[in-house]
């Protein structure tokens, strides 16, 4: 069986390679990152894995508040964790 091609994306400027079908949330954890910072500034990471809890929010290509557990990695995607970005 042929090796499925891997997808390269960046999580906070770190290049991560994942196999197709990987969610952005999984990629963020693979990169060793959390996903969002809470209002009080604590790191948070996915809780529900199914689009309900909003703890996995990251910015994708500069667009904030994206639920990374329901979005698949795509080549060249830029993922930013941490505080919400102000303006898009």
């Amino acid at each position: 069986m042929a090796e499925p091609e891997s997808i390269a994306l960046t999580v906070d400027e770190i290049v991560v390679r994942v196999s197709p079908g990987t969610t952005v949330a999984a990629a963020a954890l693979i990169a060793g990152s959390h996903t969002r910072l809470s209002i009080a500034g604590e790191p948070r990471a996915p809780l529900c894995g199914m689009g309900i809890c909003f703890e996995c929010r990251v910015a994708i290509n500069g667009v904030p508040h994206q639920r990374s557990c329901q979005i698949l990695c795509a080549p060249g995607m830029r993922v930013t964790t941490g505080r919400e970005l102000a303006i898009r």
Binding site: V63, P64, H65, E84, A86, I87, R88
Partner: protein, 387 residues
Amino acid sequence: MTRVWDAVVVGAGIVGAACARECAAVGLRTAVIDAAGVGGGATAAGMGHIVVMDDSPAQLALTRWSQQLWRELAPELPSEAEFESRGTLWVAADEEEMREVRRRQQLYASAGVPSEILDSRALAEAEPQLRRGLAGALLVQSDAVLYPPAAAAYLMREAIRMGAQMLPPQRVTALAHGRVSLDNGSQLSAGRIVNACGAGATDLLPQLPIRKRRGHLVITDRYPGFVHHQLVELGYLKSAHSIALDSVAFNVQPRQTGQLLIGSSREFGAEDATINHALLRAMIERAESYLPRIGNLQAIRAWTGFRAATPDKLPLIGPWPGDATFCLATGHEGLGITTSLATARLVAAEITGKASEIPAAPYFPARFLDASRLAPAATLYGEAVRG
């Protein structure tokens, strides 16, 4: 068993809470009763824009005074009241609206409200998200923003600290001379009864010239820095004050949380809390026409609330000609958060028989009742619209 109170305030919205605080402050034995908790009515649905408005000299006097009272209170407010001195930008789309900007600046100056005219460039610098090509704006720095339910809760805590009593939640079923009947069958005795039931005031006094005017709001997720001032189109004046029609206007407020509140709509004849999607859409399109990128933000929730509208756009504050024990504090339409503190001062002055700090007569309910005592509200409305 009944107990005699000097004042029973019916309704614990921001107006009732403010009234209770003033009544307690002047030493009246005060009780407050609400069907639910504190600040759960229109107070929980409104925008919390503390704003000077000038539809009439009386409106200007009340909003200006009340805004000053809020500014004096601001240092005492708890952080959850989210008081922020944001300032309002009244946005002018064209030269005609710029003339209105200049007229208003003079009017505000004569009332002691400082304001500043921004030209097209200065406006674009102050709010880069606004569409290009707007004519300018009037900046009213002293306008502010707060979170109304928390402000109401603070006012109620202050009232209680000064001796007022918050009674357990009960719906008031009827008012009679010096008597308040509760849903559980009991009664309260009071020297004066303050009807601060907001848009629900007519349930207890059907003759009041008040109609429910529904409004929609949308809140977004957090986008700190997207806009910096409360942004309102100058056309708001036209739409907010045309009594007869359903209308929308561009009115966007940045909250301390970084969220944006998007308003606003006005409609008569709607009695339930459901969303009118046609109006919601018109409201959003209006906002997008001023802030082209606001459509790209995430909305978290949309809801509606009811303003208590009167035919002449002024609240009903003061004695009720039909019964000497009744005092009204309702009919604040879209300005009840702003004018709650001044309303409370007028109510306390009325109950204690002291002179009020601004002329109180323009807000007296009697203004609607001189011609034909206790005429039904609908007739009054028809006349006002025609007139």
